[in-house]
Symmetry: C2
Subunit: 94 residues, 2 copies
DNA sequence: TAATTCGTAACGTAGTAGGTTACAGTTGAT
DNA sequence: ATCAACTGTAACCTACTACGTTACGAATTA
């Protein structure tokens, strides 16, 4: 189990993709063929990366869709793990 | 990009967890502290594995939540990739 | 000053996770 | 043959999320 709160994937998109290329949010949203609002929500952690969005990101930035989706998965999982102790689940196997 | 349609994670749950232990859907749902309907939907591919559900599965079956969530991610991604050609995304980087 | 960029509020649509209740079909034991 | 248990699923509900358009104020830049 991961120890530290992982950054949301939007932060990574901004730091590793937009900033280095000097691309504005508006321009990136146009390239991705999504609304500026949607991209803004992702960049600011108010929305996650959907499977389709992961494919869009891979097309625009030449990365793998899997890596984007995995980042989202790890982020979601960390938050779910924080609530593990509140779940009353019975063990069925060792 | 994966070539063949991956099975939905519910199939894996049934084959690798329920069947070997001889646990019924009803019993497993009770152990997981979810409704029988919800588990049935997962087992039959009509619902995905949420982050919280991945944690529940890990508690009941002694597996890692990450592995369950990754399976769902791979499954979702495969279907999103099938529609890649329909997305009109402009390349921003090589 | 004028134009651009950005975050975000307000509103709507669509889809999904999850619950309860109820029904019909199957199977196994008596 | 009957009864109980198991199963899938339909119907109905709530809550949340992804995504869109429009519009606004604040900040930045030409």
């Amino acid at each position: 189990m991961r120890m530290h709160n992982p950054p949301h994937p939007g932060e990574i998109i901004k730091r590793l993709c937009l900033d280095p290329l000097g691309v504005s949010v508006t321009e990136a949203a146009q390239a991705l063929d999504i609304s500026r609002k949607t991209l803004s929500a992702i960049l600011n952690g108010r929305a996650g990366i959907s499977p389709e969005m992961a494919v869009r990101l891979s097309m625009a930035f030449g990365t793998s869709a899997e890596s984007w989706l995995n980042q989202q998965t790890q982020y979601d999982l960390w938050h779910a793990e924080q609530r593990r102790k509140q779940l009353r689940v019975a063990k069925l196997a060792v």
